[in-house]
Amino acid sequence: MKMIWAVIRPESAQRVIKALDIAGIGGITRIHVTGHGKEMGITLGAVHYTEIPKEMLMVVVPDNDVPKTVMIIRTEAKTGPKNTPDEGTIGDGKIFVTYVEDTFAIRSAGKAGGT
């Protein structure tokens, strides 16, 4: 099992969720966060913003679904033309993958098989 944290643009969240839905990945937790990347935020006119609103999605998937899930998030969260290897734009977000050693479904208190 792997835990995937994706920090994405709020406006692309709905697209990503829909695509994950179609791929059969139902369990998603969504958190509203703010942050900035290595560009240290954005300057608009005279004002410098460092807390840029982002949406963080947390998905736990079996190991062999990880490449698929990451690819879906990447494709949908990237701005600009779809289905091209082109770069998106600064601020499209990042995807982090980490280990999950154990998963429990509270409802049945047993080991959970799915996401």
């Binding site: 369990g27 937790t29 154990d102 998963t103």
Partner: protein, 149 residues
């Protein structure tokens, strides 16, 4: 050291806190999150406790009047929802709990969370156990296991 992430029902948070206190877990972080599981946010009116009319459902999901409901197409506007009608709310409000604990505490914590949260209905939540490499207490600079004690 392990990182425990649990997604819980909002109304179970107080019970969970009480249980964790009896286990002796003091450091806990709660986040307001929204989420859904394999049911994709479907709940029955029975689960919510009340037959719901459209306005109540709008309030529940935080929609403004005139915006409409995001997914539900099963019930006409204004008609009451009865107990067994299932409808989809999409992402439901949940609480995420984060605990960093010693390895040997993990089983007790998982059991405690399950005891406080299990209703047997869909939406009870999940618990994830992840490895955690280290911790540092900001106040004193203590690292590793000492930072948790």
């Amino acid at each position: 050291m392990k990182l425990i992430i649990a997604v819980l029902r909002e109304d179970r948070v107080e019970d969970t806190k009480a249980v964790l206190e009896t286990i002796g877990i003091k450091g806990v972080t709660f986040l307001y999150v929204t989420g859904r599981g394999q049911q994709k946010g479907r709940v029955s009116a029975r689960e919510l406790g009340e037959p719901l009319n459209r306005n109540m459902r709008m309030q529940l999901i935080g929609a403004r009047p005139g915006e409409g409901l995001p997914i539900d197409r099963t019930v006409d506007a204004g008609s009451p929802l009865y107990d067994d009608t299932e409808f989809s709310l999409g992402f439901l409000p949940k609480r995420m709990l984060i605990i960093v604990a010693y390895d040997e505490e993990v089983d007790r914590i998982v059991q405690g969370i399950v005891n406080a949260n299990q209703t047997g209905r869909h939406g009870d939540g999940r618990i994830f156990i992840c490895p955690m490499i280290s911790a540092l207490r900001v106040r004193t600079g203590e690292q590793g296991d000492k930072a948790l004690s």
